[in-house]
């Protein structure tokens, strides 16, 4: 049984990916005996999908990323070759404070863990020490299992960590008979985004109706094209700049992108966020109504197992 994964991306930050992804989790109640959805919060720099609510961590695991060079013993001769070979300005020779001559000082924010300094050191004074750069966890939430992670500030390997939680989520889905994975993606189009979309069934692009949203969506669509992934489009805060919304719709059409619908700007989104519930639990919210109708349209295009149950 294959697992389908949809990744929520936007290019631009703050477009509403997490809000929409949480709504999807709420609306994706399976019919009959099928298992529900597994959620992945792939924005490991700034993980916010816990907005779905009632999140209880059930497992936590340290994540080891790239290594940092450390000085071992007294072998350093102060030659400075390490500083010379480092291409990332991460090594600076400084006085060791005990009158024994200069030693290398490593900047953990700039170091890329390549080990060139260690390889170049004629005295064997440097060793590469793997660093714990974050934590990944599995939680239970109001809508089912949620895999997430937090990267320590300044850490490398956000792409690797994203790959890890997706891998764990897929394993869980396979073992539990889940057929659908929803991944809340990071902003941008670089390494963590690329890591989030490989192997996905499709991208749900959430575009903010404005000039910056439009500009960033264009880059995201180019990326999706590179990776040959189908894209379905939602235009958020569509009434703030209807002209941009129309331009985005037209851009999408030109790229063969399916427009799922538009969501109006709605202060209820933040009010529900403050209360810790997804906006779809709010019967009066215009954004929630739009999300329900958009999700309905999306479900119709998919397997009958995931058609949304009519709310009673």
């Amino acid at each position: 049984m294959s697992i389908e994964e949809y990744v929520f991306l936007s290019g631009k930050g703050g477009s509403g990916k997490t809000t929409v992804c949480a709504a999807w989790a709420d609306l994706n109640r399976p019919i009959g005996s099928g298992a529900g959805t597994v959620m992945v919060d792939a924005d490991v720099d700034a993980a916010n999908l816990a907005i779905v609510g009632e999140v209880r961590k059930t497992e936590e695991h340290p994540f080891t990323g790239s290594a940092l060079p450390v000085l071992i013993g007294e072998a350093c001769s102060g030659c400075g070759l390490c500083e010379e070979v480092c291409r990332f300005d991460a090594v600076r020779m400084r006085e060791d404070g005990q009158g024994r001559g200069p030693i290398p000082d490593i900047d953990p924010f700039l170091c890329e863990g390549c080990g060139a300094c260690m390889e170049a050191c004629p005295c064997g004074a440097l060793e590469m020490e793997p660093q714990r750069v974050g934590t990944w966890f599995r939680s239970e939430s109001r809508f089912g299992p949620l895999f997430g992670a937090e990267l320590l500030p300044g850490a490398e390997n956000s792409g690797k960590l994203v790959a890890r939680i997706r891998q764990e989520a897929r394993r869980w889905a396979r073992d539990g008979g889940y057929r659908l994975l929803l991944t809340d993606g990071p902003p941008g189009i670089g390494c963590p985004v690329i890591s989030a979309l490989s192997g996905a069934a499709g991208i749900i692009a959430v575009a903010e109706a404005g000039e910056t949203g439009r500009s960033d969506l264009r880059r995201l669509l180019t990326l999706a094209h590179r990776f040959e992934l189908p894209v379905q489009l939602i235009i958020n805060k569509a009434d703030i700049h209807p002209g941009a919304a129309a331009a985005i719709e037209s851009m999408g059409r030109g790229e063969g992108v399916d427009l799922l619908g538009r969501i109006p700007y709605d202060p209820a989104v933040v009010h529900r966020m403050v209360e810790g519930v997804p906006v779809t639990s709010d019967a009066a919210s215009p954004a929630a109504a739009a999300l329900r109708s958009i999700h309905g349209r999306w479900s119709e295009g998919r397997s009958p197992l995931y058609r949304v149950a009519t709310p009673s």
Partner: protein, 295 residues
Amino acid sequence: MRVAVASGKGGTGKTTVAAALVHAIGSGSGRGGTEGTPLMLDCDVEAPDAHIYLQPVLDESRAVSIPIPSVDEVRCDLCGRCAEVCRFGALAVLASGIKTFPALCHGCGSCARVCPRGAITEVRRKIGVIETGAAPPGVRFARGMLDVGEPMAVPVIRELLREIDGIGADAPVVLDAPPGTSCPAMAVLRGADYALLVAEPTPFGLHDLRLMTEAVREMGLPAGVVLNREGIGDGEVERFCRQTGLKVLLRIPYQREIAEGLARGILLTAVVPGLEAAFLGLWQRIQQEQMADVH
């Protein structure tokens, strides 16, 4: 004086604030102020947007490239030392020869250095571009753009930050950082004397501000906050700032008209002209804060 405008969360208003700030400095400078020609660096190389608000004329560009290994098959004896030292899996030894994976290569040069046969030379692989020019009123402008499909933003950011080389320490530089707290944002903060954190008063905003605060504290970078879209959420961000000693230097209220103006690509201080003086005041305040921190 280099100010990085950053936030953990995307969409809080970094580019909005950075553009308004550099524009105000440029305007003040033009009217006989003492600030000097400001430089704007759009460091969000994955999704740059500052040009939308500042409308620069970009008249120069140069490629950003990473040095990647090229293996001379005649000299190579398949000893595999290169693949052994590579920590990114960018080289693999196959029976038919060494296979390289350029997208994984960080350009550290270790493979070329350790090859006992001198069989590896480095060739440049383009991953992005730096574009420079000027924007009214007298703002120098530079941005980096990562080629779509390339994973690594940091080398483009590093190259972009070189635009600061040779500028006096007092010259105003505004760095529009990418969202997040991982290596791209940190690479930008590393180039700064001060971090201006843009936060929104919501639970997402608070969560991400905490992470960012931790990061700048670890870096020993002085920081202040701009509270954007005040009124949409609750008072928890403000409370967090009070508790941690982070000063809120400017507050921008949520107003639909502002949102509509920004969505149309209009500079914040053009949507609300009264804010220009506030941004000039913000710049002066930041200079005071940064000097106080140094002492």
